[in-house]
């Protein structure tokens, strides 16, 4: 570990490296359960006949749902090694600082997506109340079965 830095060499070595691909199945039942969990009765997310007559022509997912499995919200399985490196560097607390999602193509029921994640940046910040905290920026890209870029996510994890 670098002297005086909370960002371990293991974490540093992961910056900029895309994870192995993770395949995500977008099932209509999973979409409906996701919408149910936020009390969203939008028929575009569950009613096939209604959705067929819409401009989409099929059931779509609410913004931010990219199918199953998802490991820890938007931190897909490919990012678990980053979370592991945070833990092995001695930082026990990881909080979700925020997320930005950019959407390019709708996610439809029946899609098979593939996602890649990478640690884009790791920075230290001094805080008055919590001491030194490490901010990790994780980028995630999602492509569909046609090879179209579906969405880009940029998430901030706050570790201490």
């Amino acid at each position: 570990m670098t002297e005086g830095s909370k960002i371990s060499d293991e974490i540093k070595s992961m910056i900029g490296v895309w994870s192995e691909p993770v395949v995500l199945q977008v099932e209509k039942g999973a979409i409906a359960r996701y919408a149910d969990a936020i009390d969203d009765d939008n028929p575009l997310f569950r009613n096939e006949e209604y959705a067929r007559k819409s401009m989409y022509g099929s059931i779509i997912a609410p913004p931010g749902f990219f199918g199953w499995p998802v490991g820890g919200g938007n931190i897909e399985a490919g990012m678990s090694r980053v979370v592991g490196a945070v833990a092995s560097s001695g930082m026990l607390r990881i909080l979700d600082g925020g997320i930005e999602l950019n959407f390019y193509v709708p996610v439809r029921a029946g899609d098979t997506l593939v996602t890649y994640g990478k640690l884009a940046d790791a920075r230290e910040k001094e805080t008055k109340s919590q001491g030194t905290m490490v901010f990790l920026i994780i980028e995630q890209k999602y492509l569909n079965q046609n090879g179209d870029l579906v969405a880009l996510a940029r998430q901030t994890l706050i570790c201490s």
């Binding site: 936020i38 028929p43 820890g72 979700d96 600082g97 925020g98 999602l101 959407f103």
Partner: protein, 158 residues
């Protein structure tokens, strides 16, 4: 009001400064469990008292991504079926604590959260009619625990 009752929003309907139709949410422990199952986020921070204490948040907190999903609901309800969400972002600035359950399905009386927003900019770009918004989740004290932004593309009457 259910989704079926909502009208399509057009670009021409929106003025800068207009409010996004507010949406009320009640976070309760049952909802957090349901969200965990639906989203795949099984972090014990959101359901185990002793783990939440060890993480210095006191007791289980509302998932940030659940609040992000609430904001998605706020926006998709506002823009209607022919509106498209281009960008959605939020920051998790403050902890929110769910209501406990009184019955199997009903939470105790307590805090209600409001998802709100305001249109900040209109622009035509590459043939799309875009509206930028500031959005946020407000807790029962009126504090913005989850401020964010959204960009939507709306149909035009032109």
């Amino acid at each position: 009001m259910t989704h079926h009752d909502k009208k399509q929003l057009y670009y021409e309907d929106v003025k800068v400064g207009d409010e996004v139709t507010p949406l009320a949410k009640v976070a309760c422990s049952r909802m957090l469990v349901q969200w965990a199952g639906a989203s795949g986020d099984f972090n014990p921070l959101h359901y185990e008292d002793s783990f939440a204490q060890a993480m210095f948040v006191g007791s289980p907190i509302v998932h940030g991504q659940l609040k992000r999903a609430w904001l998605g609901h706020l926006i998709t309800d506002w823009i209607g079926d022919e509106g498209i969400v281009k960008m959605l972002s939020c920051q998790f600035r403050g902890m929110d604590y769910p209501r406990k359950m009184k019955t199997m399905t009903e939470p105790h009386d307590g805090e209600t959260w409001w998802c709100k927003g305001v249109a900040t900019k209109k622009r035509e770009e590459n043939g799309e009619y875009l509206v930028d918004c500031d959005i946020w989740v407000e807790n029962g004290k009126g504090e913005k625990t989850t401020p964010g932004k959204a960009t939507v593309a709306l149909p035009s009457k032109k």
